[in-house]
């Protein structure tokens, strides 16, 4: 009669299985939604709206044929970002309104300083949502580009830019200590380039 070969010891199989389980538990990230955050203006109209100079407003219009009009000039989507950066970073103000950190052309007919500069985004009722989002994306990118530049200039020892710092700040895994040190830096950069992006109500067509 043949001798039975000894059975493979399966006692450690469970351990291996749990090891794998824990490995996957740690490494998989559940997919989270992401998108562009915006804040809508409150509904009640201001009784006395502040007077804003024409040169401090950067108008972007997307019409019903998805064409983009920036400051009354037809423009391709790929140029919107650099045009917005140029406008925000202009720093044309003098005296009290001068901008010490701007690197723009200091054109008197463009924005005084980033704190005054407002981007106004208008759309038609027939504009495609995806084009609208693309334009929003480019305008946010312009702000982020400038904020990144200032963050690196101001805090070169951090070895990251504004967007990375902001991501680190909003990450729940970051320790409270790191968050506390990041917050004043982020706030400082945000006041240098405040995101003033107004979404006007669409034109009645």
């Amino acid at each position: 009669m043949a001798r039975k070969s000894p059975e493979v010891n399966a006692g450690s199989m469970a351990d291996i299985a749990f090891l794998l389980l824990i490995f996957f538990l740690v490494t998989t990230t559940i997919e989270t939604d992401s998108g562009i955050n915006r804040k809508l203006p409150p509904l009640e109209e201001l009784i006395d709206p502040p007077v804003i100079k024409e040169r401090n407003i950067f108008t972007v219009v997307v019409n019903k044929n998805n064409m983009i009009l920036v400051e009354e000039k037809l423009m391709d989507l790929s140029q919107v970002r650099s045009a917005a950066v140029k406008f925000l970073d202009n720093g044309g103000g003098i005296g009290e309104e001068a901008c010490g950190y701007c690197e723009g052309d200091r054109d008197r007919s463009s924005s005084d300083n980033p704190e005054k500069a407002i981007i106004s985004l208008k759309n038609d009722r027939e504009t495609d949502y995806k084009v609208y989002i693309s334009v929003q994306n480019e305008l946010v990118a312009a702000y982020n580009q400038l904020r990144d530049r200032e963050y690196i200039k101001k805090f070169p020892n951090d070895r990251m830019n504004f967007v990375e710092a902001n991501k680190l700040y909003s990450d729940p895994r970051t320790s409270e200590k790191v968050k506390a040190s990041l917050k004043p830096k982020l706030d400082e950069i945000k006041t240098m380039f405040p995101q003033k992006l107004s979404e006007a109500e669409p034109n009645k067509s």
Binding site: A2, R3, K4, S5, E7, V8, A10, M13, A14, I16, A17, F18, L20, L21, F24, L25, T28, I30, E31, T32, D33, S34, G35, I36, N37, R38, K39, L40, P41, P42, L43, V62, L77, N123, D124, R125, E126, T127, D128, Y129, K130, V131, Y132, I133, S134, Q136, N137, E138, V140, A141, N144, N166, K167, S170, P172, E199, E201, P202
Partner: protein
């Protein structure tokens, strides 16, 4: 020679199945963890536009979702092919958005009611008119924090 003969005669030992439950449980746990629970069945096409300057929208308990887009193909015979709003498993009209947001807000914990975000999951092919109407409704109920939910990608994908 006799050694070989002996082996040949022996019957194959059965493979131990003692670890099978472990493997199955492991797979089960893995899928439990990795799957995203979708609490609404989508009745609209939802190809989100791409953007790369995005912020994460974590903490699901603070988010109210509004879907919009063309009805999916199996609903098109009944509801037509014009973009519609979907709130909680049913098609709705713009005037329902305010009531929906207020009802959703009431179900959240009190300390979260002021920090809620409204996520707009809108199909890329939708006209802005519908979105503007939703935004106006949101302003009426003072739900001012919104998030245009997007895919992560370059804007050139939106062509």
């Amino acid at each position: 020679m006799s050694k070989f003969k002996k082996k040949k005669g022996g019957e194959l030992p059965a493979i131990s199945t003692a670890s099978l439950p472990d493997i199955v449980f492991m797979l089960l746990f893995f899928f439990m963890v990795a799957t995203v629970m979708r609490d609404n069945t989508l009745m609209v096409t939802n190809k989100l536009p791409a953007a790369d300057q995005v912020q994460k929208l974590d903490k699901k308990d603070r988010v109210i979702y509004i879907y919009a887009g063309k009805p999916s193909s199996r609903y098109q015979s009944k509801y037509g092919d014009q973009p519609k709003i979907q709130l909680n498993d049913k098609f709705s009209v713009v005037s329902d958005v305010g009531a929906y947001v207020l009802a959703e807000r009431a179900t959240k914990r009190e300390e979260l009611q002021n920090v809620l975000t409204t996520a707009l999951k809108v199909d890329g092919e939708t006209n802005m008119g519908l979105i503007s109407d939703i935004k106006q409704e949101l302003r009426k109920v003072n739900a001012l924090k919104i998030n245009y939910t997007t895919r992560i990608g370059d804007y050139t994908q939106n062509k």
